[in-house]
């Protein structure tokens, strides 16, 4: 009963924040509500028992996406607002008339899925002793479905290349207030520690490369915003190396497996744990570098 009530409150809060994020009066309010939405969503993941997701969502969904949106708002400047009015009743009725039947259709086709059992969890747990790690989610990410993770790193790299092609995203940050600087100086070592802990923990409990990478990236972004770091230039070569490191190592392991071992992305027996650990470390550094470049990356302005 109490759990049901909690679910109800959480879901109500989630949907209200989503509505506010869409139809907030000013864009600033919208973005603020969207960040809050991300935090509540992290709570929902924790409630549903997906702790891996809660960690990732709090760092990525709420933190980095919020920073990206605010940066976009700063670049866009004050756009003319007031393009819609919810008060228009006819429009609302029309939308409800379309969306409610669609909702009914979706629910009636999805509801039977909620009752059906899937054979996958048992298979995943049965193969766990041979996977090299003890946490099933990490095993799926880096062993059973390593293809997904490999391609995801490629997607991240492509997004970074695309953003870089779009020219200088110069970030004009205001002078940071002293407290932000002081806090960040103390927070940074702690973030590195927690990131390392999450990475190491990932083999046996919730955590892993994505969460650690996102946390480190969030740390870099907040240090940059506090002007404690110099501008991150695309042209800085160690940074480029870091960005490529994860994908390159992953590809090397996959290719070596295909050439010398049993096949593409299948680890030789007994070698799974060290290989997964190496890939995870490289992927963490890569993800951290790519995400922080995506958010606060800059390019030297061509001299006029």
């Amino acid at each position: 009963m109490a759990e049901g009530l909690f679910d109800l409150v959480l879901a109500g809060l989630l949907l209200m924040l989503a509505g506010g994020a869409l139809y907030g009066r000013s864009l600033y309010t919208s973005i603020l509500l969207f960040v809050t939405f991300g935090l509540v969503l992290a709570l929902v993941w924790a409630r549903l028992g997906a702790v891996d997701l809660a960690l990732a969502e709090a760092a990525i969904g709420a933190g980095l996406t919020g920073a990206l949106l605010f940066a976009a708002l700063a670049r866009q400047g004050r756009a003319p607002e007031g393009e819609f009015d919810l008060a228009c009743r006819r429009r609302g009725l029309a939308a409800a008339a379309v969306l409610l039947p669609v909702l009914w259709l979706m629910l009636s086709s999805l509801a039977p899925l909620a009752e059906r059992d899937s054979p996958l969890p048992e298979l995943a747990l049965a193969a766990l002793p041979h996977s090299g790690v003890e946490h099933p989610v990490t095993a799926v990410l880096l062993n059973y479905r390593a293809w997904d993770t490999l391609l995801e790193l490629a997607v991240l790299l492509l997004a970074l290349l695309g953003a870089r092609q779009l020219g200088s995203g110069r970030l004009d940050t205001a002078r940071p207030w002293p407290q932000l600087r002081a806090w960040n100086a103390h927070l940074a070592p702690l973030l590195v520690l927690v990131g390392g802990f999450l990475l190491w923990r990932g083999s046996s409990a919730p955590g892993g490369a994505f969460q650690a990478g996102a946390l480190l990236a969030a740390g870099v972004v907040s240090l940059r915003l506090a002007h404690l770091l110099p501008p991150l230039r695309w042209s800085f070569w160690p940074l480029r190396l870091l960005v490529l490191l994860g994908l390159a190592l992953f590809l090397a392991v996959a290719a070596a497996g295909a050439w010398l071992g049993q096949g593409w992305l299948s680890y030789p027996a007994g070698w799974a744990k060290p290989l997964i650990l190496a890939i995870e470390v490289a992927a963490t550094l890569s993800i951290a570098a790519s995400l922080s470049l995506l958010v606060v990356g800059e390019r030297r302005e061509p001299a006029p």
């Binding site: 028992g49 997906a50 400047g77 095993a139 779009l166």
Partner: protein
């Protein structure tokens, strides 16, 4: 009503809310927020399906973890594009 079914419904409502926003809003940044909300709705449906049995289905959770990073990459690129578009329009005007 079981917990998976409840969150399945919430995910569907969230998806439709995002769809409505995507179709009715004009501002590019708001539309990107709407797409993100639709993505969150999909993730919610997947996690609701993952908790049908205890312990949860690791495959679906891992897919959503992957999806989160892909979503933030796409959002970053889309925001860059929209910023570029706004600048081009300003240049025309």
């Amino acid at each position: 009503m079981s917990t998976p079914l409840f969150w399945l419904g919430v995910g569907c409502v969230l998806w439709l809310l995002g769809l409505h926003g995507l179709l009715t809003l004009r501002n590019a940044v708001r539309r990107i927020i709407a797409i993100n909300l639709m993505g969150s709705g999909v993730f919610l449906v997947m996690v609701a399906l993952a908790i049908r049995e205890r312990p949860g289905d690791p495959v679906l959770v891992a897919l959503v973890v992957t999806g989160l990073v892909v979503a933030v990459s796409a959002t970053a690129l889309a925001l860059r594009l929209s910023g570029q578009l706004a600048r081009a329009r300003k240049g025309d005007a």
